[in-house]
Symmetry: C2
Subunit: 365 residues, 2 copies
């Protein structure tokens, strides 16, 4: 029986459990805390930044993969040195950990990006602002997620606090028609399969809703998104799921916003909406098993994130109101603003699926 070790016990690890159970894979999770979302599969509770903890966890696993991209490079490299199969590997993960490194590397691959610069001082930021109509996005190279570590600025001193810590990434503020995400999975042997392009709707920098496939994307945009993701997956040697967040700009460009090398919020719709979910595909990919069909199970799928918490009474009310909607709870304690679950509706009609998903989600307000 194949054994996959997952570092991190969040909802992504939790949602791998079902795929592992189906395929007869033993999933082991290194969780941050006993009450972690993926606690059912936790075999170790410990600190993923501690080399000894991680090395001990990896003993007996056929492959190590991730719930998040925060494992330090020195820990990843110690795993590789100890003979562990780490997928994605440290050389690839670097580009999901460090946004400056990502921009430099994608530029080398010729992938379309927003204008960007490495900035080390307020003077350099001022210059970038001057070249971009006085507005820009500043990002800390590391540690940002869900809108954290990201700041829209129009003042050269608005990032002084971050600059005191080191260089930052500055990017043009893309005026976009819509945000898109292209997911793809790649095996170590080089085989790769993409899912249909999806549209994502953000609120306050956090994914709120995903529509699959992207309803207004032209065929040319879909093709370009798949090409971009394929180029990145191969170019960076990604193994497992790669999520490429994209902007479709008002001036017609498709440019890369962010990367994630793991199952991703924009892919949750694949659990109910695709022949192969991103969680199953991730496990197959990191085990170097053949990849599954990524065809949709219905013409449309709509996924809506639920924040705060999902009380049993709310779940029952949502299920009662919308018998065809699938509810996914992450087993977390309630906390305002916290991603606590999602709902998905699939069907032949987009408006109907969106209505059902929103009606179910409304029970969790």
């Amino acid at each position: 029986m194949a054994v996959v070790g997952v570092i991190g016990g969040g909802q992504l690890a939790r949602m791998m459990i079902s795929a592992a159970v189906a395929l007869g894979i033993e999933l082991r999770v290194l969780a941050e805390a006993p009450e972690a979302s993926a606690r059912l599969a936790a075999t170790v509770v410990g600190d993923y930044r501690d080399v000894d903890t991680v090395l001990a966890f990896a003993q007996g696993c056929d492959v190590i993969t991730f719930d998040h991209e925060h494992v330090p490079q020195e820990v990843l490299r110690a795993l590789v040195a100890a003979g562990a199969a780490v997928r994605p590997g440290p050389d690839a993960l670097l580009y999901a950990q460090d946004k400056l490194a990502m921009r430099e590397r994608l530029a080398g691959l010729g992938v379309p990006q927003p204008d960007w610069a490495r900035v080390e001082s307020a003077e350099q930021l001022a210059q970038f602002l001057e070249d971009h109509s006085g507005r820009a996005v500043v990002k800390t190279p590391r540690g940002g997620y869900d809108g954290k570590g990201v700041r829209v600025v129009n003042d050269a001193h608005a990032a002084d606090d971050w600059l005191a810590e080191g260089a930052v990434l500055v990017e043009e503020l893309v005026q976009f028609e819509r945000e898109l995400a292209q997911l793809i999975a790649r095996r170590p042997n080089g085989d790769a399969r993409a899912w249909p392009l999806v549209e994502t709707v953000q609120r306050d920098g956090v994914c709120a809703e995903v529509i699959a496939p992207a309803p207004r994307a032209t065929e040319a945009v879909q093709r370009e998104a798949t090409e971009i993701a394929t180029t990145i997956a191969h170019g960076l040697g990604v193994t497992g799921v790669l999520a490429v967040e994209l902007f479709e700009s008002m001036d017609g460009r498709v440019v890369v916003n962010e990367l994630a090398m793991r199952p991703h919020n924009s892919g949750h719709v694949t659990i109910d909406g695709s022949s192969t979910s991103q969680f199953e595909q991730h496990l197959r990919a990191v085990l170097d098993w053949p990849l599954g069909d990524t065809a949709p199970r219905a013409p449309w799928g709509v996924m809506i994130n639920v924040f705060g918490g999902l009380a049993d009474s709310q779940i029952a009310a949502a299920l009662g109101h919308q018998p065809s909607v699938k509810v996914h709870a992450y087993g977390k304690g309630a906390r305002p603003g916290r991603k606590a679950g999602h709902v998905t509706a699939i069907g032949a009609d987009l408006d109907d699926a969106a209505y059902r998903a929103r009606a179910a989600a409304s029970h969790f307000d």
Copy 2:
């Protein structure tokens, strides 16, 4: 967070895990052995026939349900006496445990059955044989499953060993066109939802293949099957999933063969083929939560059981050959003839789905 306790750690409990994870339900399993199929969710390893073990297990569970119907009535009644919600309850489960009691009760409900009799001696068996062209099926009232405890006889002394232990059930040997199964789930509040009728193909008394929906059943047969299952679910006060195995006889009758009050092999196709799987529906039903949509996700679904074992290399070969087929492994050690997993293909064309399922299953021969 709702807590469901499952007595029995086989593949049915295992396949409840995914549904529980999705709905944020805490599943606790009383497993027979540490290596049980549902070991991931096992909180107790012990003997389900021991009252103290079962009462201790039930502590803190909102409801107790089952992976099998072998829990003795005295244990079930001790649970009820201790205040546990037991679903299905002992009064209903009796009819899944005792085939004589089932025949008597269904007769009282007016449900169509094969000719049958309670037989206590070879003389009585001889009389039944004389009345039924010299052939009949003898069944031990308790403990039979997957063809065990069932014997086709044409000799009045062929059941002497069983008769020495007590009364047996004797039934007409139904000449059937096909075998069918009707699944339905019922909540304590009385709400019930049936899935489409399926056809089952048995080999050596064990389910080999299921086709959903039943491809050659007339509308009248479908309607009758649903009516029968509905009558039984309400009449017996079943809570959770009820599987009614049926014969469609060559002379045009639809008659009840067997009952199971739990998720059932004939319903595995619902995992990939239905909006709501039998495992999710069972959990919703026993929690008295609203039931889910039972509509199919595709016009056809074909499920094929895998016996013996599923080695990783076989799983990978099957997935490589048939990227759209879903493989379900039960995490059991290999043993000849043992139900070890199943594969499911769904799609718009029955022949194509059947081909893909069989092609994938062939990797496990």
